[in-house]
């Protein structure tokens, strides 16, 4: 791109990629951490009432 304003265009797309990438990464890492926390709680025998009822059926 030989445009004199190429820097502005590249900066715009790079920033958007960074923000969108950050959003995606945040959601994925959050999901992983929450699943791990739930698994740890269940391993310690802490379960929701509905989950306990399903387990005893």
């Amino acid at each position: 791109m030989s445009d004199p304003h190429a820097g502005f265009i590249i900066a715009s797309y790079a920033l958007t990629a960074l923000v969108v990438g950050g959003l995606v990464l945040r959601v994925l890492m959050d999901h992983r951490a929450l699943r791990r926390a739930l698994a740890q709680l269940e391993a310690r025998g802490v379960r929701r009432r509905s989950a306990r009822q399903e387990a005893t059926r």
Partner: protein, 270 residues
Amino acid sequence: MIPTLELATSDRVPRFSSLWNLANPTRFLGLADRLLPWLAALAAALLAVGLYLSFFVAPPDYQQGETVRIMFIHVPAAWLGLFMYVMMSASALGTLVWRHPLADVAQKAAAPIGAAFTFVCLVTGSLWGKPMWGTWWVWDARLTSVLVLFLMYLGIMALWRAVDDPGRAARAVAVLTLVGVVNIPIIKFSVDWWSTLHQPAAVFRIDGPTIHPSMLWPLLVMALAFTMLAVALHVAGMRNEILRRRVRSLRLMEAERLDAGVETAAGAAR
């Protein structure tokens, strides 16, 4: 008449209850798990097509040259910033009026996504403004009202964090969100009501778009890609929020159980 009425009533009740069942968090988690791979794939495919059209098909503008390519991310980001806020306002009504089980979950998950797109809109607008207007920023009505939208998002996110109980936080945030919705028509019509450096609407106009189709199509594809991305992120964010509340309630249950155990042990030792 009577059989028709009976048919209409019996037809309506199951339909309403099935909609309500879909709002059940456990059912929503199942639906989200099934939907998310498709939404993510669709967003990625649309983004790939949109970027190809934006860089290799759309011509440079006769006045702005290559700089016009910033439009393909700036405008969809602006639309999504507004869209997420309107979505949050509908959810706020769901929280306050209908007490819908997923309304505040939807509201909370939407705020960071809307804030991120509004931030992208502001910064890419600034990066577009410097070479075209000769300035990074002006305090005109459009730019200022979008900055207010961004500040509203930050305020809403701060309020969610400030109140521990999700139910109380949801009601406070819902009221704040509905107060802030007055800014949405101001943003939309600011370019018509006041004299602004920002150009007037070029796509959603009564007399039709004023952009040449060679630039309009890449813009619409990018807007669709951003929308799919936002929907996928929102569904994933809602799924996380439901899981976060489950973790919170299970931790409370565990703490209560431990507390009861300590009291029993202390009673036995006495």
